[in-house]
């Protein structure tokens, strides 16, 4: 008789273990769903951009270092205030570089600046394709292309 009770108890324990596995899985599903919903809301509220520049270093503080600049498809960069992105730095030319989004990728082209445009530390002499995470240096200003 005790053997019979033990067997039923064991069966309950066994099924309990599998049930616990599914309880855990259910909790995962709950977390995943909540996360998807909040992501959806966020997407509606946030602007959809093709990329942005993070300013890493800017001695004259224009643009202020530590900020990000939302990018349009065509961006001119230089010390002239008519540029899309105005950069205050003595080593940057009036019309320094052009940052454009073509097709699926970003490209940067030097506009004949005096001190040149650098991508990840290498001076460029023709339009260069950029990946997200690449670093742009104009004069003493360092910026990073981000998503």
């Amino acid at each position: 008789m005790t053997g019979e009770i033990l067997r039923i108890l064991l069966l309950a324990l066994q099924l309990g273990f599998v049930a616990l596995l599914y309880l855990i899985l259910l909790r995962f599903a709950g977390s995943l769903l909540r996360d998807l919903r909040s992501a959806e809301e966020q997407q509606i509220s946030s602007r959809s951009g093709i990329g942005r520049l993070s300013v890493l270093e800017s001695p004259a503080d224009e643009p202020p270092s530590g900020t990000t600049i939302a990018l349009g498809p065509i961006n001119s960069i230089g010390r002239n205030v008519n540029n899309t992105i105005f950069v205050e730095d003595d080593f940057v030319s009036a019309n320094h570089a052009m940052l454009t989004f073509r097709g699926r990728s970003w490209f940067v082209e030097d506009q004949g600046s005096t001190n040149g445009t650098y991508v990840n530390g290498h001076r460029i002499d023709r339009p260069v394709a950029l990946s997200f995470g690449d670093e742009l240096t104009l004069g003493r200003v360092r910026m990073r292309l981000d998503r």
Partner: protein
């Protein structure tokens, strides 16, 4: 450093902390036939380990994904419960006058793995060291392979092991990580070139060869050596991961097409040339042709799956040993999924797959949210590698594909595998942390403007 509460993670971890002691209890009751709790030291140790990992992430203000650690914890929990249930003398360590059985050794490796994971997740604040030294990583990878080729010794027809005094390691497991880092960094740099310029042959456009060649050469070398070492599962894993990363980086279907054609060609050549490949495929097609010889392992595994049925035989009640030996040889490494399915049934097997699916889903989400190409590609590579490894070995266990001996991440017994898998999770968490920090900085700025 600010403390960052991780409520979602804690909420998910709580039932997982209970899972392992509960599993140990059920096993003891089933095996002993009486209502005793048995020795719960290992189970409590495992729960404490997970809790400690959670607390450390909170204390160090880690902002990475909160579902990854619980998913890994659940898979590892099922693993520890199963390994505790199998004969403890299958594997183990001894030293300093202490003898450790298989489950205890696995827990030891889990501690090492969790420590490595935390060190990477918390310590890796800048991915420059991964990204800018890609040829150093490639060199390390080649060194690992060379070491295996020269110093390795054979276990079951595959030369994968290096003896390092007290422990033996499998360099292939670490090679996997190094290779993913290299490919991610290479593709992040040349991605735009690979998508833009083309050579056209017929209707398929090829990548420009000069940019593609260095990676292709390295990859071919790795594949050649891996195949030479008879490690077919790893070869398949590397190839699948490489192809996925290439597709994600370029968005070109033609690369995948070329890859698949190469795979079919390579596989058929390997089938013609190597006897052991032929045996594997023949056994897969008809294991019952030679049930006491080549087909012994798969036949026994299929019977075990059949015994398990939908609800399973119950923990501690499967037929693990038969006639003095293991019912299924290598049940603790290659066939751990079969052991789970025998005792926990189809339901238990599905639950395990579910946890793996959560891991892959979150890994790909980390990749999608990554701030830069390198982080994204790294996350894709690591995730696909873990996911593919799970599919390849479970597919082999269930006779869906030919069996290749690789481990089931976080479940199979094995130090190198556990350590490598945790390093991969650490890297994923590091990528995830960086994007969370970046998103915060942006939100702050938006609030100020």
């Amino acid at each position: 450093m600010r403390i960052a509460w991780r409520g979602v993670e804690l909420r998910l971890l709580v039932p997982i902390l209970l899972l392992v002691p509960f599993g140990f209890l059920v096993t003891t009751v089933a095996v002993s036939g009486t209502l005793v709790s048995g020795d719960l030291t290992l189970a409590i140790g495992y729960a404490a380990l997970l809790l400690a990992a959670h607390v450390l992430l909170v204390v160090f203000g880690h902002r990475g994904d909160q579902l990854i650690l619980p998913a890994v914890g659940a898979m590892g929990g099922i693993g520890i419960v199963m390994l505790n249930r199998l004969p403890q003398d299958l594997a183990g360590t001894s030293g300093f006058g202490i003898e450790l059985g298989m489950a205890a050794t696995q827990l030891l490796w889990f501690s090492v793995g969790v420590a490595a994971m935390l060190a990477i997740a918390i310590g890796l604040r800048d991915d420059g060291i991964l990204r800018h030294y890609k040829y150093s990583w490639a060199a390390i990878g080649i060194l690992l392979l060379g070491a295996t080729l020269l110093l390795g010794y054979e276990v079951n027809g595959a030369r994968l092991w290096i003896d390092l005094g007290p422990v033996s390691i499998q360099p292939g497991e670490l090679l996997k990580i190094v290779l993913v880092i290299f490919i991610a960094s290479y593709l992040a740099e040349t991605r735009t070139l690979l998508t833009s310029a083309t050579m056209r042959i017929g209707f398929i456009s090829f990548p420009p060869l000069p940019y593609f060649l260095p990676m292709l050469v390295l990859f071919a070398a790795v594949m050649l050596i891996v195949v030479r070492l008879n490690d077919l599962g790893t070869a398949l894993l590397f190839f699948g991961t490489f192809l996925t990363m290439l597709f994600v980086a370029t968005g070109r279907r033609s690369y995948v097409l070329i890859g698949l054609v190469l795979f079919v060609a390579g596989a058929s050549v390997a089938y013609q040339l190597f006897g052991h490949v032929q045996t594997r495929v023949d056994v897969w097609l008809d294991p019952f042709a030679d049930p006491l010889g080549a087909g012994f392992q798969p036949v026994r595994a299929l019977y075990a799956l059949g015994r398990g049925g939908i609800f399973g035989e119950g923990l501690g009640q499967g037929i693990v040993t038969l006639g003095g030996g293991l019912t299924i040889p290598f049940v603790h490494t290659d066939f751990i999924f079969t052991a789970v399915a025998e005792e926990l049934g189809l339901l238990g097997g599905f639950a395990l797959l579910g946890f793996a699916a959560v891991l892959v889903f979150r890994g790909l989400r980390i990749a999608a949210l990554a701030r830069d190409d390198f982080g994204g590609l790294l996350a894709v590579g690591l995730t696909i590698s873990l996911g593919l490894q799970t599919l390849i070995i479970i597919g082999g266990n269930t006779k869906l594909i030919p069996l290749t001996g690789i481990t089931l991440p976080f479940v199979s017994y094995g130090g190198s595998s556990v350590l490598a898998s945790f390093i991969m999770i650490g890297l994923l968490l590091a990528v995830s942390h960086r994007s969370a920090i970046g998103a915060d900085a942006e939100a702050d700025q938006g609030a100020r403007a």
